[in-house]
């Protein structure tokens, strides 16, 4: 199954390379195709996470109110979900599923790239790693490779910085440290992998960043406004707990 998937990806990459005549361009086109396939899914999960953020205070209130009664809590939360037609397109599984796709692409670029695959005049060989090029042709030949490794780190850090804006204040410094450490690890990892992998990752991240800055944030604001309007204009909820109806005592005759 795994081998089959890798074979499929490398065949597709080969076709694109034949079609456009350049391996580097083919990697970028494949990246864009994969990103485009993921966009509708992302859009839906965006909408639900905007809803989630607007409804969060209300849900917390319910959780506190019925903390000792999980059944009632569940019912009340269900009520909110149905009122707002809350259909969360998202979840942890889709995120986890994306990882094998990344690893498959990684192993395609590492093992199935011909040695003469080049990216126009920029990279003579996409199958070569940064450390290798630096060792064989010195800094003069390797500086573009090194630049791409640095970009690899920078493009890891930027989405995290963008994410931090949606976060609680107290956590920010911690997250920043972790983001920098992770970017450093990525650069260390990128040092010894074929530069084709870096090209893929940089193209993919750049796409993601553009998407986040120009589309995601604006859509998020729009969805949030819609949801807030819905909450504000909705009928006022009054929680009435009805007493059990008792049968009327019969009149004594």
């Amino acid at each position: 199954m795994w081998e089959w998937f890798i074979g499929l990806l490398s065949t597709i990459l080969g076709w694109i390379a034949d079609f456009c005549g350049d391996w580097g361009l083919a990697i970028m086109i494949l990246t864009i195709i994969i990103r485009l396939c993921l966009t509708p899914l992302q859009n839906k999960s965006l909408k639900s996470s905007a809803q989630m953020q607007v409804l969060q205070p209300k849900m917390q209130e319910i959780q506190q109110l019925y903390a000792d009664d999980p059944m009632r809590q569940q019912q009340e939360l269900q009520k909110i979900y149905s009122e707002h037609k809350f259909n969360p397109f998202g979840g942890c599984l889709p995120v986890i599923i994306q990882m094998p796709v990344f690893f498959a692409l990684f192993s395609v670029l590492r093992d199935h790239l011909p040695a003469d695959a080049c990216f126009y005049g920029i990279f003579p060989s996409l199958a070569d790693s940064v450390s290798n090029v630096l060792a064989t042709s010195g800094f003069a030949g390797a500086w573009v490779y090194i630049l791409f490794d640095i970009l690899f780190g920078v493009f890891t850090l930027i989405p995290m910085l963008l994410n931090m804006r949606n976060q609680a204040q107290g956590q920010t410094p911690q997250t920043l440290i972790m983001g920098v450490i992770m970017a450093g690890m990525m650069m260390w990892f990128g040092w010894s992998v074929p530069v084709g992998v870096l090209l893929y990752y940089n193209a993919s991240s750049l796409w993601g960043i553009v998407q986040q800055v120009f589309i995601t944030n604006r859509m998020m604001e729009k969805y949030k406004k819609e949801e807030e309007a819905k909450v504000a204009n909705g009928p006022i909820q009054v929680n009435v707990v009805r007493k059990e109806q008792k049968p009327r005592p019969k009149k004594k005759s």
Binding site: K44, S49, P88, G91, C92, N166
Partner: protein, 81 residues
């Protein structure tokens, strides 16, 4: 109850898993947008499940939970049994 989960006598595996999940929550999770459709979240669920049932059964419960956490489920409040 086999006794590998509850109380102070947690197995090495359970303790290692708890540390990993807590590390994920503290360090890794804040870097990415929130995606979980359940409360408690999948990682919190995993911590509670492993603490209560031990590495094997708790881990299995967590795996089942993650497999439920996708667009075609309703989500919502779903505590560890």
């Amino acid at each position: 109850m086999s006794g590998d989960g509850k109380g102070a006598a947690r197995s090495l595996g359970a303790r290692a898993l708890l540390k990993i999940f807590q590390g994920y929550q503290r360090w890794v999770s804040p870097l990415f947008p929130p995606c979980c459709i359940y409360r408690p979240t999948c990682s919190q669920y995993a911590i509670e499940a492993v603490a209560k049932y031990g590495a094997l059964k708790g881990g299995w419960l967590a795996v089942k939970r993650i497999c439920r956490c996708h667009p075609f489920h309703q989500g919502g409040y779903d505590p560890v049994p």
